[in-house]
Amino acid sequence: MTANADVLVPVVDRGESLEELVHAAEEHTRGGISNPVLGMILFIASEVMFFAGLFAAYFNIRSNAPVWPPLGNVEFNLRGHVLLPAILTLMLVTSSVTCQIGIWAIRRGDRKGLMRAFVVTIVLGILFLSGQAYDYTTLGFGINDGPFGSTFYTLTGFHGAHVFAGVLMLGVVLYRGMAGQFSARHHDAVEAASLYWHFVDVVWICLFTLLYILG
């Protein structure tokens, strides 16, 4: 009995690098969510709070303004400018679907399916970004046009930056996928990237509703 008083940690070969050891230990971590996916969920929680700060500022400023959108610039009326953003919204929502199709594919071990779906997702993401950049050039106000301009460009701009980051993330996943790094059992990075992409999509739906529909 006394001999068993010590529990051996996962057998360790001193020649292994720390990375390998950590990886070995990861395999032995508790069941359930994998480390990268849990890390991504927590990261998304922090991103939610980041946008919460920006949204809070928007609502605060809006509720303090006598009229919203402020008078004096007809361009502030974004409800009349909803067509392109609506198309872009459609693209982003579609990209979430294609992203999810990729996830389902790799869960079945279908690497080709993952590649195809992610290529489409990335293309839609880039189209969204280009569309938004174009849309900016057609708006008749800038970031320095009072609280309306600053909140509008800050909210949509930082969302755009997040789409950009998401595209990069998906790109890395695609690259690693082409190198054959994912399988039905090992594709945590893919799951994590897709969670992020869905999050970015949800933020945009909130923004679109708030800025263009409710105006």
């Binding site: 008083a5 940690v9 990375e19 990261f43 929680a45 922090s46 700060g53 605060n60 609280p147």
Partner: protein, 543 residues
């Protein structure tokens, strides 16, 4: 290629500077955190001395008002964001994976990134001093004072960028801690067997993940106001000045718990070991920690009582409420020592310093929580006294306690106890000399953030005392530096477990191997090493 120079672990661990610069080992990163934060502590200390020197007498002796404003702003910013927060993260980094029996943090490379962002951010923040003046509107950077019109110059922008980077470092670190604690615990290490330090780091990480991004958003809006003609916070342009205060304090009140919860964790490791008793009321302590964390998000507007735009009774009540879980902890610590065989090591002395001084910091905080009282003492030196009793009397004493406690684990040698005790006494006396009189100054109406005051105000003597105290504190750091120096050169070699500790870090060698453990003791309680020692001792006498 890198792989061709691979040598056996023992020599590899010693392979010098390159190794330190590229390491992903949580222990080395932890030591890097501690070292870099300590350097910033010295920088912030020098700035504090400059401030105190100027305040010793009425009139302007050593600097102009512009320089003074930069110094007190950067003093606070450096102390808070580049010293206390990363220093505690350093303890978390070094100790937590060991305590829970993990081989490393969950994401070692992200961990390295979290660290390296800090010296970068610190440099960016300080760059202001050589580029025409640093930030000078106080660490709270209230708008419209912080707008481009009233704070022109690149210093404030550098301050913003630096702070965003520090925040990013904290967020990545917080995620790393949480995943590590949730997923990498050794077999048998259940959540309710986690050492208290791990619990406090856990709650702190939640606060970081939920609070710090809000500060990031505030800083970004301020940056846009300053540089791109935004009008978030400028009433002249249709913005709202109080909005800044709301978003800023939504982070910065929880931030005080980010700065003190891990310190409480450190103290909770030290006190049981040097009282030779288990921590009294383990679960109560855990729940108190979680409650403090949760309540911490509902009190931010106690910094804004005088703005007239917050609902006073609510925020006052919630603030008082936080005293309850804090009181529970005080009770736990005292009950832990009660009838223990207390050993007054340097680490224990600093822990006791924490207890007593943090108590004062809590009590004088309760005064500010009372709205009518706060109307009188807001923005006076009373507040400066309060923040230092919690931050210096609390966090800094705990930090030194932790350094004395874990130094033998990190380096295999003990710090000199006598020097440690001398340091403690001088620091304790100096600290109280500096900050206790500030209560009185505050009550007499001396405002904070002023470089000069009237010689007729009757504030001269107390200010002189405070300045002398400040230099005493500085003097107390010298024995510590000397102590580290001589100990690293040839301190007393002690075994793996010099204090007869309770937690897993004492079950491995000092310093531990890169992968932390060859074998782990069986984990049946929150004191596995105590259990092991006890059982082994029982067996030895049985034979």
């Amino acid at each position: 290629m890198a792989t061709t120079v691979l040598t056996p672990t023992a020599t590899r661990a010693r392979s010098g500077l390159y190794d330190w610069l590229t390491t992903t080992d949580h222990k080395k990163i932890g030591i890097l955190y501690l070292g870099s934060s300590f350097i910033f502590f010295l920088v912030g200390g020098v700035l504090a001395l400059a401030v105190r020197a100027e305040l010793a007498q009425p009139g302007l002796q050593f600097m102009g008002e512009a320089a003074y404003n930069q110094f007190f702003t950067m003093h606070a910013s450096v102390m808070l964001f580049l010293f206390v927060i990363p220093m505690l993260a350093g303890f978390g980094n070094y100790v937590v994976p060991l305590m829970i029996g993990a081989p490393d943090m969950a994401f070692p490379r992200i961990n390295a990134l979290s660290f390296w962002l800090l010296p970068l951010a610190g440099t960016i923040m300080m760059l202001g001093f050589v580029l025409g003046g640093s930030a000078a509107e106080g660490w709270t950077s209230y708008s419209p004072l912080a707008n481009a019109k009233y704070s022109p110059g690149v210093g404030t922008d550098l301050w913003i960028v630096g702070l965003i980077l520090i925040g990013t470092s904290s967020i990545l670190g917080g995620i790393n801690f949480l995943v590590t604690i949730f997923k990498m615990r050794a077999p048998g290490m259940t959540m309710f067997r986690l050492p208290i330090l791990a619990w406090t780091v856990l709650v702190t990480s939640v606060l970081v993940i939920l609070g710090t991004p809000v500060l990031t958003s505030a800083l970004i809006m301020l940056f846009i106001d300053r540089n791109y003609g935004g009008s978030f916070f400028d009433p002249a342009g249709g913005g709202n000045a109080v909005l800044w205060q709301n978003v800023f304090w939504f982070y910065s009140h929880p931030a005080v718990y980010i700065m003190v919860l891990p310190a409480m964790g450190i103290v909770s490791e030290i006190i049981p070991v040097f009282s030779r008793k288990p921590l009294f009321g383990y679960k109560a302590f855990v729940f108190a920690t979680a409650t403090i964390g949760a309540l911490g998000f509902s009190v931010w507007a106690h910094h804004m009582f005088t703005t007239g735009s917050v609902y006073l009774p609510f925020f006052s009540f919630m603030t008082f409420l936080i005293a309850v879980p804090t009181g529970v902890k005080m009770f736990n610590w005292i009950a832990t020592m009660w009838k223990g065989s207390i050993q007054f090591s340097a680490a224990m002395l600093f822990a006791l310093g924490f207890l007593t001084m943090f108590l004062i910091g809590g009590l004088n905080g309760a005064f500010s929580a009372s709205v009518p009282v706060d109307f009188a003492i807001h923005d006076t030196y009373w507040i400066v006294a309060h923040i230092h009793y919690v931050l210096f009397g609390g966090s800094v004493f705990a930090i030194f306690g932790g350094l004395f406690y874990w130094f033998p684990k990190m380096f295999g040698v003990k710090l000199n106890e006598t020097l440690g005790k001398i340091q403690f006494v001088v620091m304790f006396v100096g600290f109280n000399m500096t900050f206790f009189p500030m209560h009185e100054l505050g009550l007499m109406g001396m405002p904070r953030r002023i470089a000069d005051y009237s010689p007729m105000a009757g504030w001269n003597d107390l200010n002189l005392v405070a300045t002398i105290g400040g230099f005493l504190i500085a003097a107390s750091v010298l024995p510590f530096l000397w102590n580290v120096f001589i100990s690293l050169r040839g301190g007393e070699r002690v075994g793996d477990d010099p204090w007869e500790g309770n937690t897993l870090e004492w079950a491995t060698t000092s310093p531990p191997p890169p992968y932390n453990f060859d074998r782990l003791p069986e984990i049946r309680s929150e004191r596995p090493v105590f259990d092991q020692r006890h059982r082994l001792a029982g067996r030895a006498t049985g034979h």
